[in-house]
């Protein structure tokens, strides 16, 4: 018999009703407010197992068990109906391998002594935290060159340690993370420090990790370039004796760098990192207490 929808006039589908509803006009614990009086509710109780993720979204296909019956959740719900008034143990899981890729098992995968009351539905809710992933990428600034073997530390909802891999992506992959904000810190090895540096404070970043998203956190290393400082005796065209060069850095610290003696025709060639270029050459002092002028700085 056609049952047209009052809105679109197409035939409506019959909803699934597993029990008959009492239509007799006797009183009961049913709705009474204003115009909301409806059929008397069924006498039996029920348990609706409800599984959601930590975003509040319904999770399907999770096995739910009450008494000896196991049913998967559909759109987050698995109804066990009808049930006698009593107390029941409700379980979910075990999660399938596919589900374990997406969710952490709940802290408690069961609930004991769940009460079922006459004419009521008891909703038992389980929350599964979603798993998320984060890729930490370390690359050379301005280049498509990725840097392997960089130590990476995560702190936040989870604490993890990793290393960028040598697969051409320079990434340290982290999976099975809880969602949230992580502090990501990279640490350069002594060898790496010879070739790269990070700006002050740039060794840590905040990364927001969202389930289902390809979360990435990129660190850019600046390459260290060596420059050459040439020192020569302008007044006498004489050999430059060995000595040292005093560098005053921007942080007001000073550093002395020694250089060897040079012959008259060949000025002192003095290599230093461009990273140190953020400094002023204060003084060039030789063993003979002579002061020399710096006549040239060029990239090595």
């Amino acid at each position: 018999m056609p049952n047209p929808c009052p809105i679109c006039t197409l035939d409506m589908e019959l909803t699934t009703i597993q029990q008959y509803v009492c239509k007799h006009p006797h009183t009961g614990p049913g709705p009474k407010i204003g115009t909301t009086a409806t059929d008397c509710p069924v006498e039996k109780g029920s348990i609706w197992v409800h599984v959601i993720d930590d975003d509040g979204k319904n999770v399907s296909e999770i096995a739910a068990k009450v008494k000896d019956t196991t049913k998967p959740t559909v759109a987050g719900f698995s109804p066990f109906d009808p049930l006698d008034v009593d107390r029941y143990k409700v379980e979910i899981g075990p999660l399938t391998p596919d589900q374990l890729l997406k969710y952490f098992p709940a802290a408690r995968m069961f609930a004991e002594n769940v009460p079922v009351k006459k004419g009521e539905i008891t909703s038992v809710q389980f929350v599964l935290a979603q798993k998320a992933e984060l890729k930490v990428i370390v690359k050379v600034a301005g280049e498509d060159k990725f840097v392997p073997n960089i130590k990476v530390n995560l702190t936040g909802p989870d604490t993890r340690e990793g290393t960028t891999v040598q697969d051409g992506t320079g990434s340290a992959p982290f999976d099975s993370l809880h969602k949230g904000t992580f502090t990501v810190k990279v640490t350069l090895s002594e060898d790496d420090k010879k070739d790269y540096y990070l700006d002050d404070g740039a060794d840590s970043k905040q990364a927001v990790v969202v389930p289902g998203q390809p979360n990435q956190c990129v660190f850019e290393l600046k390459p260290i370039v060596w420059v050459k400082i040439l020192i020569r005796d302008q007044t006498q065209d004489a050999p430059v004796p060995a000595g040292s060069i005093k560098l005053k850095k921007l942080d007001a610290t000073s550093e002395d760098k020694d250089f060897p003696a040079a012959v008259a025709t060949d000025p002192v060639k003095f290599d230093m990192k461009k990273q140190d270029g953020a400094c002023v050459i204060e003084q060039v002092v030789t063993n003979g207490d002579d002061i020399y002028e710096v006549v040239g700085v060029g990239e090595a």
Binding site: P6, I7, T15, I17, Q19, V21, G30, P31, K32, I33, G34, T35, T36, T38, D39, C40, P41, V42, G45, S46, W48, H50, G56, N58, V74, A75, G76, F77, D81, V90, A106, A107, R108, F110, A111, V114, P115, K117, G119, E120, I121, T122, S123, V124, Q125, F126
Partner: protein, 104 residues
């Protein structure tokens, strides 16, 4: 309205007190207003459904459908709330849903 709600659902409102019940009803009125549901009868249905299935119908498998129906652009408000009531109560067979958390 507050008195009848408290009288009909004493368990649900035992701890809320009179002020809590009034706040609950005000929230129901606000929710109804969002969907153009403003008559006393329609608000009464909405209150009943919020008592039965949670303020966001979060205890009903038909929550998403219900909000889609409430926001239907053509159907009149009374019809919309009536269809929502029919669907939600049909699923629960007229029974109220009480939440139980595993850690309780």
């Amino acid at each position: 309205m507050a008195a009848s709600v408290a009288a009909d659902y004493p368990d649900r409102f035992r701890d809320m007190g009179d002020a809590g019940i009034r706040q609950f009803i005000n929230r129901a009125i606000q929710t109804g207003r969002q969907y153009g549901i403003e008559t006393e009868g329609a608000i009464a249905v909405l209150i009943q459904l919020m008592i039965y299935f949670g303020e966001q119908f979060e205890l009903s498998p038909d929550r998403d459908w219900a909000f889609e129906m409430l926001a239907h652009p053509v159907a009149p408000p009374v019809l919309r709330i009536s269809l929502v009531r029919d669907r939600l109560l049909s699923r629960s067979q007229g029974r109220m849903v009480t939440q139980f958390r595993p850690q309780e």
